[in-house]
């Protein structure tokens, strides 16, 4: 059985500690924002989880391309891990964005281009997982997965620009005028500390979860391989 590397065990603990500190900074250390009140604090984790989701998104696209070029199973494992993590974190981003929007903009959903693109990317991820589920041959599954990841990776920025174009040409009448801002406020020094520390923490968390998920993927591949040979 694969033993979990010590480095990873250490990283697990470090991630937890960093998360605790980040939460403290966001919840207590950072000053309260003047116009929005306490809800603004979700912003720190909202952006940080979006960053994590974005890391996963890029990793998935790169892994997809590398799989098609190299045809090595490990890129497929990396790709699935990246998609899964991005799926979870974009979900959190969207929910936090919604929670933030409710008291500030008086609407649960504001069709903000970034969040809408994140939501559509979630749909792409879900489609990706369903695609994989429908293929039994592991090689074909990896190949098709890689292709769909690449298509998704290209379509996401295109979608973002199109939605932004919609918002600039037809500014949304509900809520305040500026379509680009997701609630603007100026960040004071205390806020900046919380903000950048959260970004750092979530980068570490991404690496930790990514590594863990990749180990899981390897284990899964081994099990599947054995199943095919034993239960012939």
């Amino acid at each position: 059985m694969q033993a979990k590397p010590t480095t990873l065990k250490v990283l697990d603990i470090v991630s937890l500690l960093l998360l605790a500190v980040a939460a403290y900074l966001a919840l207590f250390y950072a000053p309260e924002e003047a116009t929005m009140g306490q809800v603004q604090r979700v912003f720190y984790f909202h952006v940080a989880t979006a960053w994590t989701g974005l890391l996963g998104f890029v990793a998935a696209g790169v892994a997809g391309i590398l799989y098609l070029i190299r045809k090595e199973e490990r890129w497929d494992i990396i790709e699935v891990a990246a998609v899964e993590i991005s799926l979870v974190f974009f979900f959190i981003t969207i929910v936090l964005g919604s929670i933030w929007a409710r008291p500030v903009w008086n609407a649960w959903w504001t069709w903000d281009p970034r969040l809408t693109t994140a939501a559509i990317t979630e749909l792409v991820y879900i489609a990706y997982l369903m695609l994989r589920q429908g293929i039994e041959d592991p090689v074909k599954r990896a190949r098709f997965g890689a292709i769909y990841t690449i298509l998704g990776a290209i379509s996401a920025p295109v979608t973002f620009f199109v939605i932004r174009l919609v918002r600039t040409i037809h500014p949304v009448i509900i809520g305040s005028g500026d379509p680009g801002a997701q609630g603007t406020f100026a960040m004071t020094a205390g806020m900046k500390v919380a903000f950048f520390f959260a970004l750092f923490t979530f980068t570490v968390i991404f690496v930790d979860l990514f590594w863990n998920r990749i180990l899981l993927g390897r284990l899964s591949a081994r099990v599947e391989e054995l199943k095919l040979s034993v239960l012939r």
Partner: protein, 93 residues
């Protein structure tokens, strides 16, 4: 003295947000654990089954290493790599 606007009390939303974050993250991490332990269990079961298939009569202390299986059908560079990891992990046990 007057203070103009006190910021509105939106703490509920803040709490909701952070609770959701921690709950979702915890669920995901837990799912990683659960899946890993299920797969480990499957792996053990499959390994035993494999050993029994390879040497049904013999169940000696050191399990037979090479069970000749047609690897050609699934030949990929990574399979060789996982085969090596398989050997390595067997040795670490």
């Amino acid at each position: 003295m007057f203070f103009d606007e006190v910021p509105p009390d939106t703490s509920i939303y803040m709490v909701a947000g952070y609770v959701i974050f921690f709950v979702v993250t915890a669920i995901y991490v837990a799912s990683l654990f659960i899946r890993a332990s299920n797969l480990s269990r499957d792996l053990e079961t499959l390994k035993e089954a494999e050993e029994e298939q390879a040497a049904p009569a013999v169940e000696v202390a050191s399990p037979p290493r090479v069970a000749p299986k047609p690897r050609a059908a699934r030949a990929k560079t990574s399979k060789a790599r996982t085969a090596k990891t398989k050997q390595a992990s067997r040795k670490t046990r």
